[in-house]
């Protein structure tokens, strides 16, 4: 992984039934970890609440894995699925 200068980005996906406070909790956690939100979009997919965020993860205060675990825990609390994945996953899979 190239951790120097270059910007590293990750995608946060939230899937589940819509509830009060999902966005607030997720964004608060991202802010705590110093993950800057670059873009955010929300849609309904088959009645499922879907939020996708593109965040910058070059200067995380506590590392990628910790952020990942914390988001997962919030997901469990709110009964939604939250995933944090490096943007490379999507770039590789869908682009040449």
């Amino acid at each position: 992984m190239n951790n120097n200068n270059s910007q590293e980005r990750a995608v946060v996906t939230v899937l589940g039934s819509d509830k009060v406070g999902i966005v607030a909790k997720v964004t608060a956690t991202l802010a705590e970890h110093n993950a800057n939100i670059i873009d955010i979009s929300q849609t309904l997919l088959d009645d499922l609440f879907t939020m996708i965020m593109l965040v910058e993860v070059s200067d995380l205060t506590n590392g990628f894995e910790n952020l990942n675990e914390e988001l997962e825990a919030i997901g469990n609390d709110l009964e939604v699925k939250i995933m944090l994945q490096h943007e490379k996953v999507f770039r590789y899979m869908h682009r040449i």
């Binding site: 992984m1 995608v11 996906t13 899937l15 670059i38 873009d39 979009s41 849609t43 997919l45 879907t50 996708i52 593109l54 990628f64 894995e65 990942n68 699925k81 995933m83 944090l84 994945q85 490096h86 943007e87 490379k88 996953v89 999507f90 590789y92 899979m93 869908h94």
Partner: protein
């Protein structure tokens, strides 16, 4: 947004509900520099080399899993065929080497270690003779060691002495592990045209043309392919092939990314992505279900071979566009006990050994994880193997036999191995003998296809 929402959700769905995963990261390690006449010194050197080279493998794999959010199911090691490494030893029983491999595998935390292997397609060296004799005891006294023997190639023909001996070895492996339904035989494969860089077990070993260490990746995605196939029930074959191709491309790209990343993090060269569609016993993660999704009532009925041919070819075409380092077996696997759809098709009587044999002509491996009655003779197993080797030899492809003569079981019974190895109904074998044929001895000559120079 810089990414298309549809693309992101497609990827997430593949992982969340379609069982998409990286099946294995396999680290190949050369053990050739461990050779020593004293087997104790050899064992010590093997243990040290493996536990040094692979010490970070599991940790790195777990890190990648977290970073990309893609499950990596197995971490494995393949080593130089032990018949080569141990050839200089005075000791002729190699069981202790298998036990050393097992210990090293447990120390570094990998699921399987492959390479208790020999290549005897043209004949035996003393090391290969010793190794093959040690296989039953080696597999009965270890948990994670896998063994393979290559008995045929298109260039050399079929070593029928080895085919017969392997029939006996398979029987013995099953007998020594009778309390576990013959599990020993499930960790042993007999090959024709074995690839040297295969990351999948039980057939993985680190070939002699490979570098000191290497990272090979095996992807898996029958569930993903099944879903896209089921979405287009009325599509014609062109459209069907095209859809599978596109999906295989995406799956393989993930393998490429994981391989590149692991290689970078471990400081070990990236070898290949094996783009095989490897099923698991999980519901829906089945190659049989893909074929059924194409319009067959059950896998194994007429039309199955054609459906599998289309699938296998489309997977290869899509995969080869996705990575410049495709290798290993790269096709669709049809291991009966590891594929819920195959298990069901066998139970209902749609899938038989004969049909499976035909299917192996057009897909990547061969008769894989097939349980047969415990009273099946070594000669019959050898004859089944000879048929499969002939298919590989003539068609210039890899074929393999992983067959379990389940002790004290017969048609109608089941064997249960658990985990990825799954469970299997006992399949019927022909009651007519081929004993005289397999006892002839010698080699079936290389076919005319061998004369390519």
């Amino acid at each position: 947004m810089l990414f298309n929402t549809g693309e992101i959700l497609e990827t997430v769905k593949m992982i969340e509900s379609e069982n998409f995963d990286i099946r294995t990261i396999t680290m190949g390690i050369s053990l050739r520099d461990c050779a020593h006449p004293d087997i104790e010194v050899l064992n010590k050197q093997i243990y040290e080399k493996i536990t040094t080279k692979a010490k970070d493998l599991v940790e790195v794999a777990n890190k990648i899993e977290k970073q990309f959010g893609v499950p990596i199911i197995n971490k494995r090691i393949s080593v130089t065929p032990i018949s080569i490494v141990a050839n200089a030893c005075k000791e002729t029983d190699y069981t202790s080497i298998a036990q050393t491999l097992d210990k090293a595998a447990k120390e570094v935390g990998v699921d399987f270690i492959g390479g208790f292997s020999a290549l005897v397609h043209k004949g035996y060296t003393s090391g290969e003779r010793n190794l093959i004799k040690s296989i039953p005891q080696a597999l009965a006294t270890t948990d994670r060691v896998c063994s393979s023997v290559n008995v045929a190639t298109t260039k050399a023909g079929i070593n029928m002495d080895a085919v017969l001996e392997m029939g006996q070895v398979i029987k013995k492996c099953a007998e020594l592990t009778a309390d576990k339904d013959g599990l020993g035989a499930a960790k042993l494969v007999v090959f024709c045209n074995v690839p040297e860089d295969n990351p999948f077990m039980a057939g993985a070993f680190h070939g002699t043309g490979e570098p000191e260490t290497v990272i090979n990746i095996g992807v898996s995605g029958p569930g993903v392919v099944k879903n896209v196939v089921e979405k287009i029930p009325d599509a014609n074959f062109n459209e069907l092939a095209d859809t599978i191709k596109r999906t295989a491309f995406k799956i393989t790209r993930m393998g490429e990314l994981v391989g590149q990343t692991a290689s970078e993090m471990l400081g070990v060269p990236f070898g290949i992505v094996d783009l095989s569609l490897a099923p698991t016993p999980a519901i829906g993660d089945s190659v049989a279900n893909i074929l059924e999704g194409m319009g067959l009532e059950y896998c194994g009925t007429h039309g199955t071979t054609a459906a599998l041919a289309l699938l296998n070819d489309a997977v290869k075409k899509g995969g080869s566009m996705a990575s410049s380092s495709v290798g290993g077996l790269s096709g669709a696997f049809i291991p009966v006990s590891e594929d819920q759809g195959m298990i069901e098709a066998t139970k209902i009587g749609a899938l038989t050994l004969e049909k499976l044999e035909a299917m192996t002509c057009v897909c990547s491996v061969g008769l894989d994880m097939i349980a047969v009655p415990g009273d099946t003779t070594a000669e019959t197993i050898a004859a089944i193997t000879a048929d499969e080797m002939a298919i590989g030899m003539i068609n210039k492809k890899t074929t393999a036999v992983r067959i379990i003569p389940a002790p004290n079981k017969t048609v109608g019974d089941e064997v249960v191995f658990g985990g990825l190895l799954g469970e299997a109904p006992i399949m019927k074998v022909s009651k007519f003998k081929a004993d005289k044929f397999v006892h002839r001895g010698g080699r079936i000559p290389a076919p005319i296809q061998a004369l390519t120079n």
